[in-house]
């Protein structure tokens, strides 16, 4: 069974087709790098997969279920452009809140564990309002991993992270993949992403322009896919 299957998905904003007949599949344990120029439709696709908006046509299956089923949602972790943590709560409170929402039994332990993983244990009682941009992004990472989802949907997860935090995130992703969990991420930091990716999908104006395994060639020259399959 595929961890993720996107079947003929169309999505319009008003008249503008942001996604045009997208077909994708991801096996469990694979890492899909979703690339494409600004405005290609990466964010739209990820948000549609996560179930924040319904596709106009087509269907999305996550672990065999629809994105909006409770069972599915429990198994999905999402990082979007916004970091989805509360400015008025501390880092620890934020994580504990989400742990409780996901019904984890040991909310506090889990929260502390992920604060340590992401290097935020020093500021765990600091309000998020006082965090720098990178610290916020780290917290968003912690939030997405907290409930150990089997599908991770990450929209530009490396943004604002320093080299060390990028290394940590890469390690976390590698561990997740090794455990058979699935990762779909969009990014413009190709170098960091292609190191992990098993598959690459390139969108171009809402259409799939390239879809295939990630080859060593691509890792060596991250610009390759754009050069070869981009609009030029």
């Amino acid at each position: 069974m595929n961890a993720l299957a996107v079947e003929g998905v169309w999505k319009y904003y008003g008249d503008y087709p942001a996604l045009r007949d997208i077909n994708l599949t991801c096996e469990a344990g694979s890492c899909l790098a979703l690339i494409g120029r600004n405005g290609a439709g990466k964010t739209t696709l990820l948000r549609t997969i996560a179930g924040f908006s319904r596709p106009m046509k087509g269907a999305i299956k996550i672990l065999g279920g629809s994105p909006r089923e409770t069972a599915t949602r429990r198994n999905v972790g999402f990082i979007g452009h916004g970091i989805a943590v509360y400015d008025e709560l501390s880092a620890l409170e934020n994580l504990m809140l989400y742990a409780r929402l996901y019904g984890l039994t040991d909310a506090r332990t889990k929260a502390l564990q992920w604060l340590t993983e992401t290097g935020l244990e020093r500021v765990r009682d600091g309000l998020v309002r006082e965090f720098s941009r990178g610290m916020r992004q780290r917290l968003a990472v912690a939030r997405a991993f907290l409930h150990e989802p089997s599908l991770l949907l990450l929209d530009e997860p490396f943004t604002a992270l320093d080299d060390r935090a990028i290394a940590v995130l890469q390690r976390l992703l590698r561990e997740a993949l090794a455990q058979g969990r699935t990762v779909v991420m969009s990014t413009h930091q190709l170098r960091e992403a292609l190191e992990l990716a098993t598959h690459v999908t390139m969108l171009n104006r809402g259409q799939v322009a390239f879809d295939g395994p990630c080859t060593p060639e691509m890792v060596a020259d991250p610009g390759l896919v754009y050069a070869r399959y981009g609009e030029g």
Partner: protein, 226 residues
Amino acid sequence: MEFLRQVLVILAKDVRAELRTKEAVNAALAFAVMILVLFSFVFDPDEATTKMFAGGLLWIVFAFAGTLVLNRSFAREIPNDCLDALVAAPIPGSALFLGKALANYLLVAAVELVALPVFGILYYVRWYERFWQVMLVLALGTWGVTVIGTMFSALTVNIRLREVMLPMITYPMLTPALMGAMQLTVDLMNGKSIAGDATVWLKLLVGFDILYTAASIILVDIVLVG
């Protein structure tokens, strides 16, 4: 059980975020006093006629203070896209809705309970004479205001038209509940018990609350995920 726990988690989060600074209550109190002062310029609270509608006045104050709280309810989720995370979490929309509605209810009720004695002193109203009946009307009316306010706060948070739609729909829809509450309160504060004709208003209020709560719980899932 699970459902209740989820409601409580949301409730606790909202109340905590709001009360992070204790000044919220102080500010609400000062605010209520200020409105009462403003009204005193309009009607002379000494006069007997004022007593006839002081109860109505009270609900206007509540509606106004309530709007301040309710406007923030889902708007609070906007800045960091927190609503996404809530919608993505494995909890039913109804739990989210009830949690938020209850949080709003607590906050609005707190403001009201503080404003009530102040109102009593400044407008020479013996509101405590029929204490439990007043509390009943307060509880019912406030729930009506809260449930509608919360629902529309949710309805309009996604679409850009948030603050357009919210007031345009909410306020007219609130009118029956507020009217009922006003009529009852005026009666109670003029020493009449809820009896006879007045029970119609009470029934209206109860019916309103039940109807809109049920409708909201059923519809909220559609509202939250476009």
